[in-house]
Amino acid sequence: MSKLILERLQAAFGDDIVEVSSFRGDDVAVVKPSRWVDACKFVRDDPRCDCGHFTDLSAIDRCDPRTDELDMADRFEVYVIAYSIAKKHRVRLKVRLPGDEPRIATLVGVWAGANWMEREVYDMFGVRFEGHPDERRILTYPEFKGHPLRKDYPANLAQPLLEYREGTFNKLGPFLQDEGMPLNRSPRSDDRN
């Protein structure tokens, strides 16, 4: 795969492209948060990039709660995958956000399909999208506290909408801290037996 899009991006944005990499045909460019919308508009509108097809938008929580600070400067990585149906090439643009109040401009004005994807990222990771027309949780419910795909959210912590019935039994044994997942399983021996 040619690195055409990465070269065009670097020529147009210079130092605002923090990092580029290419692995087995996957071209990745990390953009500064201030130029996020501009870079996405560029790959959509530039005639040689022509990436009009919005494939996906999601996020990654890069922190390891065992070793890292939760408010590290580049904890969250929001990425968007754009594809050109005519030219059959794709590019992945990334932006790195701090763990403390991550926020980024919305892409709904660039690709309308980003609407629900950004709602999902907000729901799962708590990244706020400034200017989003309808910023609500999309998969969980309004009563939900926290953001379940953050690495510091306990993996088995449920927040039931309905109170559980009395007298039911739990079939799974307790997950203990010696499972090799120190912060992911909360030891809740009181409600599991």
């Binding site: 449920a158 909408l161 309905l162 019935r165």
Partner: protein, 188 residues
């Protein structure tokens, strides 16, 4: 029931049988189960196949699905139930008219399966009472029919304690017969 002697009357014979009204009613109920399939996940495919002519659920008087809870007797919960869906399932259950029964179809509906996380209800018995659990991921149609027969049995006994479908053993000699059939089929 055990103390009653039952015998099919021959031609020209006449006789009578005594029973309790509840048992007669239960006997009638167990052969006219209108079902409400609450299919949410991949187990739904297995439910369709169990309801299709090959396995012929009509033999048990349970072939009529009703997509209104008010007209149905059995709630089949087929698949994973998420926390967000739990109030919907509870509402559907509450809308059913008495008498009503619930079957948890598959491991996810029975205990949450391998999901132990923020999203999934760890077994629908946490939110509604269940009569029969059918384990399996997904259960074979044979296990589904076992579950239905277990429910019929429970209805006939007027028994509401939750029960789980047990492993079935093949009858003696069945494995050799199956092997022979397999060989016949494999012949070019």
């Amino acid at each position: 029931m055990a103390e009653l002697e039952t015998r099919v009357l021959g031609g020209g014979e006449s006789g009578f049988a005594t029973t309790k009204f509840e048992l007669l009613l239960a006997w009638a109920r167990k052969y006219s189960l209108f079902q409400y399939p609450f299919a949410t996940a991949c187990c739904g495919m297995e439910f369709f196949s169990a309801a299709s002519p090959r396995y012929d659920i009509a033999r048990f008087g349970a072939e009529a699905p009703r997509f209104s809870p008010r007209q149905s007797d059995v709630l089949w919960v087929v698949g994973t139930i998420s926390q967000r869906q739990a109030p919907v399932l509870r509402r559907v259950y509450e809308q059913m008219t008495e008498p009503k029964w619930v079957i948890a179809f598959g491991t996810c509906a029975s205990c949450g399966g391998f999901y132990d996380n923020y999203a999934t209800v760890p077994g629908i018995d946490k939110i509604i009472p269940v009569d029969v659990f059918i384990p399996g991921c997904p259960p074979r149609p044979e296990a589904v029919l076992d579950g239905l027969m277990l429910l019929q049995d429970k209805i006939a006994r007027c028994d509401r304690t939750p029960e789980t479908v047990k492993n079935t053993q093949l009858p003696a000699g069945a494995e050799e017969t199956l092997e022979k059939l397999y060989q016949l089929r494999m012949k070019p």
